[in-house]
């Protein structure tokens, strides 16, 4: 039975791969594997000067690039990609995942390694902060926990106007209490509106700044996306301290200073 099963596997697994010639002498190998959205993973083979090369021609990172508002990989994603590169022995070249196949190695082994690397790389999407709306505030919450800064999330406060205002974080430290508003958007078109909304919040809460124990207002910009203008920063600088998510340690120092 085991022999028959193994023979069946040996005879049928290859049928899941489909080959076709495309441009520039590449052979496209259509694999049975899928990117997280259901798109099929294609790999491309070429031989030049006796060297076999297997590559995704950049499709995996192009796919990843198209899924979120982020235009570059985060530090965590970059570290994970480096781990994938090491584990599977692949090369990153001009955004491609590439594998040189030695003459004594099997193409099947190379195909499996590169396909697995492509799958793992595509899954870096799950580490993307802009994948869900709440994930940036989740990341900030995680960071505050790591720094052992006490906080409450989504605090509702009463503004001078009588409106109930929700702020992203209220933090406590022996030296200082702070309110933190997180500004994050993937679009320049929405950036001004976000900044205006936070300004209105700070203005409405300004009574908290003039008490005996004034509360620090912090506007935390998600500057991993290039959507903010200098006007956005200067607008909020008058009413709050500015922090940048690309420099989290400076943000933490602000909360405990």
């Amino acid at each position: 039975m085991t022999t028959a099963l193994c023979q069946h596997v040996a005879e049928t697994i290859g049928q899941l791969y489909d080959c076709a010639e495309i441009n520039n002498g590449f052979i496209r190998i259509r694999t049975p594997y899928l990117y997280p959205d259901g798109d099929i993973i294609d790999l491309y083979w070429k031989e030049k000067d006796g060297q076999q090369i297997l590559t995704d021609l950049g499709e995996t990172l192009r796919w990843l690039d198209g899924q979120t508002a982020n235009q570059k990989l985060s530090k965590r994603q970059t570290q994970a990609l480096e781990d994938i590169r090491l584990t599977h022995g692949i090369e990153l070249y001009r955004g491609t995942l590439t594998l040189r196949i030695p003459s004594d190695a099997s193409l099947a082994d190379g195909l499996t390694r590169l396909a697995q690397a492509a799958l793992r790389t595509a899954d870096l999407w799950f580490l993307s902060r802009t994948r869900t709306t709440s994930s940036i505030t989740d990341d900030v919450a995680e960071f505050l926990s790591e720094k052992r800064i006490r906080f409450e999330q989504d605090q509702t406060l009463l503004g001078r106007s009588g409106r109930a205002l929700k702020i992203d974080f209220q933090t406590w430290h022996p030296r200082r209490t702070s309110f933190v508003e997180v500004l994050s958007t993937g679009s320049k078109a929405a950036a001004n509106q976000k900044a205006n909304n936070v300004l209105a919040t700070w203005y409405d809460l300004s009574q908290y700044k003039v008490s005996d124990q004034p509360i620090r207002f912090v506007s935390l910009f998600d500057d991993t996306l290039d959507v903010w203008s200098s006007e956005n920063f200067s607008l909020l600088q008058e009413f709050s301290d500015i922090a940048y998510w690309s420099r989290p340690d400076e943000f933490a120092e602000l909360l405990v200073a």
């Binding site: 495309i22 441009n23 520039n24 590449f26 496209r28 259509r30 899928l34 959205d37 259901g38 798109d39 099929i40 294609d42 491309y44 070429k46 030049k48 090369i53 021609l57 950049g58 499709e59 990172l61 192009r62 690039d65 198209g66 899924q67 979120t68 508002a69 235009q71 070249y93 001009r94 955004g95 491609t96 802009t130 994948r131 869900t132 709306t133 994930s135 958007t185 993937g186 679009s187 320049k188 078109a189 929405a190 509106q193």
Partner: protein, 151 residues
């Protein structure tokens, strides 16, 4: 979670527009070129569109991203096949469209996209028409220098 009604409203909104020319760039020296453009609407929806083009295959994508949902809600792909959650292959020209059940995993073969992946400008015009986006500007084709191969 983006509801079906909200998605339908975004897609049907005829006020979606892009002002200005679109230029493909290749800032990271990748094989593919890309661009990003903000979409202006008369509603409050914060949207942008992203294009990417890999001339070697060729493969082309135009993707509508809704940051409030945190992901792509609509997109056209040319140059690679797609398998729907029910297991059916859709074809190398397919459109992803948001559904509450499958998010952006469900795709269909769009009859209105007839231009090939090797002609990003014509595909763009066809895409904008179906997605009800007015582009007040010009899209220049990706430059030849981006067609360099590494082999």
């Amino acid at each position: 979670m983006l509801t079906q009604a909200e998605f339908d409203q975004i897609l049907d909104d005829p006020s979606k527009r892009i002002d200005g020319d679109i230029t493909w760039t290749n800032s990271n020296n990748t094989l593919w070129s890309q661009f990003r453009a903000d979409i202006i609407t008369s509603s409050d929806h914060d949207l942008f569109i992203q294009g990417s083009y890999n001339p070697v295959i060729p493969a082309l994508s135009y993707i509508l991203i809704y940051p409030a949902a945190g992901c792509r809600i609509y997109g056209l792909d040319l140059g690679k096949d797609h398998r729907n959650p029910d297991g059916r292959l859709v074809g190398e020209t397919h459109k992803h469209s948001w559904t509450e059940t499958f998010r952006d995993k469900q795709a269909y073969a769009p009859p209105d996209i007839t231009a090939p992946a090797s002609n990003p400008v014509e595909v763009w015009q066809q895409f904008c028409q179906e997605a009800r986006i007015t582009h007040n500007g010009i899209m220049a084709p990706p430059s030849d220098s981006q067609l360099d191969l590494f082999l």
